[in-house]
């Protein structure tokens, strides 16, 4: 995409029928660090790569809880993402107050999309520079939506956004057909694998990624670093019998000794007989 005379204003069409400002906003999403989402009939998993600017700084928060039954992962201008999350939380809470019922995700994404569309049609505004992966539960099951700066939204079985998301998408394209019937744990495993794909060789550690789950009977929550590290160990080291630990939220498949205080720092931990 190169500079041209039609790209200064969001209210200027190009002769080819494009709104360049909107497309540039979508570029901003592609530059952000990766975020992926996948869903089964009953659960949604959101995961993202958290790159800190330096060793000294903290990670940027990219996954937000919007309500017990809705969560969002963002990629792009995180400041815009924060503002939109606040809007979503506000909408959810107002609906809950009036109707004593959770806001259906489908309606929330439409409201979000309409808000984004407004910014593409006013000369004194700019499009939001953030893509949102909204995962939520409603009467008809678990849903995953992607909201674009253009004001479009789509429902997905699985999706990835941000830098090097194509690698994750390729992985997801291979596996997505089985997702609908996946168990919660398999879904999390696939999410971690997809995140690994976006790292292009860099080591997957719980310190650089965040995973969040929500499902039927399970309110939205972000898994803590320990649990994520344990899951990484479980699924990645195939040669050793990984020290399987009990997960915080879900029922454990294996018997496990009680978890240590410190997460297993080195991956060469001695295999334990179960």
């Amino acid at each position: 995409m190169f500079r041209n005379q039609y790209d200064t204003d969001v209210t200027t069409w190009s002769p080819a029928g494009r709104l360049f400002q909107v497309e540039y906003a979508m570029e901003a999403v592609k530059q952000g660090s990766a975020a992926i989402g996948l869903r089964s009939k009953t659960h949604v998993v959101l995961a993202c790569v958290n790159k800190a600017n330096s060793e000294l700084s903290s990670h940027q928060k990219k996954i937000f809880k919007v309500d017990d039954h809705i969560g969002v992962a963002i990629a792009g201008l995180t400041a815009d993402g924060r503002v939109l999350s606040r809007y979503m939380r506000s909408e959810c809470i107002n609906y809950s107050f009036t109707y004593e019922s959770p806001l259906p995700v489908g309606r929330l994404v439409v409201q979000l999309a309409d808000k984004a569309q407004v910014c593409t049609q006013r000369s004194w505004k700019r499009p939001f520079g953030v893509g949102l992966l909204v995962g939520g539960l409603d009467e008809s099951g678990a849903h995953l939506y992607y909201n674009c700066p253009s004001g479009n939204y789509f429902e997905y079985q699985a999706f990835a956004i941000g830098s090097r998301s194509q690698a994750a998408k390729t992985y997801l394209e291979r596996k997505f057909e089985s997702f609908m019937g996946s168990s919660r744990d398999d879904l999390i495993k696939d999410a971690l694998f997809a995140i690994k794909e976006t790292l292009q060789g860099e080591k997957l550690k719980s310190s650089i990624c965040t995973v969040a789950v929500l499902g039927v009977g399970e309110p939205f929550h972000i898994l803590d670093q320990e649990t994520v590290q344990q899951l990484i160990n479980e699924h990645e080291i195939v040669e050793e019998e990984a020290p399987a630990e009990q997960e915080a939220a879900a029922a454990a498949d294996q018997d496990a000794p009680p978890a240590d205080e410190a997460p297993p720092a080195d991956q060469g931990a001695a295999p334990m007989d179960i």
Partner: protein, 221 residues
């Protein structure tokens, strides 16, 4: 202050859903002015609303709910407002009006079934709201609820439920001066809402107590 008012509404949960009864009278003060007023109306696919109190305010509430259901349908997304949501919405409306010192002068009974779950609740004009297995408004609170407390059971059959409601309505007919002998019984189940055609209750006025009311207390009337 209310001008044209309806009297009690009684509602019970039964095996397949909710049964609600009300008479068809609307009084103008002490005059039994209108005798064919439907005080129960279906709301959306899943709920039924019955009201006592000012009839014009009831009609206003129906307009609000009409708009609410319309927008709900316009989403066209497989989600629909169930009785719990409608009840909550009405509570907010009633409470807000009360806070502005301009209440909608009604006591509402909201019943419905959604996804197999039965819901029966009530909202008063000051925003007091709660759910229960049996509710009543107005005089029904004093005359019908004691009967229901004794005789209501879980999983009433349709016939038993109707008999129970008729018993309550009969007592109300005898003892409530603003009651008229033309009632409707409404039934809501998972399949939908149906309101019966109006009919009259059989009454018996030959009780000794009625023929000779002052036998125990000379000088009274």
């Amino acid at each position: 202050y209310p001008y044209v008012t309806g009297t009690s509404v009684v509602g019970v949960k039964y095996k397949d859903g909710i049964l609600m009864a009300s008479d068809m009278g609307a009084s103008y003060g002490s005059t039994l002015r209108y005798k064919s007023v439907e005080r129960m109306k279906p709301i959306g696919k899943h709920s039924l609303l019955g009201a006592s109190g000012e009839i014009s305010d009831f009609q206003e509430i129906l307009r609000y709910l009409d708009e609410l259901i319309l927008y709900d349908n316009m989403w066209d997304d497989g989600n629909s407002l169930g009785p719990k949501e409608v009840h909550s919405y009405l509570t907010r409306v009633m409470y807000n009006r009360r806070n502005k010192f301009n209440p909608l002068w009604n006591s509402l009974v909201l019943g419905g079934v959604k996804n197999g779950k039965k819901y029966l609740g009530t909202v008063s004009m000051i925003g007091v709201h709660f759910e229960d297995n049996h509710v009543a408004t107005g005089f029904g609170n004093h005359l019908a609820r004691p009967i229901l407390r004794e005789e209501w059971r879980e999983d009433l059959s349709y016939e038993d439920g109707v008999k129970l409601l008729e018993k309550c309505m009969r007592v109300l007919l005898y003892r409530d001066r603003s009651a008229v002998n033309k009632i409707q019984i409404a039934k809501i189940t998972e399949e939908g809402v149906s309101i019966s055609k109006p009919y009259s209750l059989r009454t018996f006025w030959e009780f000794n107590a009625f023929r000779n009311p002052t036998v125990g207390a000379e000088g009274s009337w």
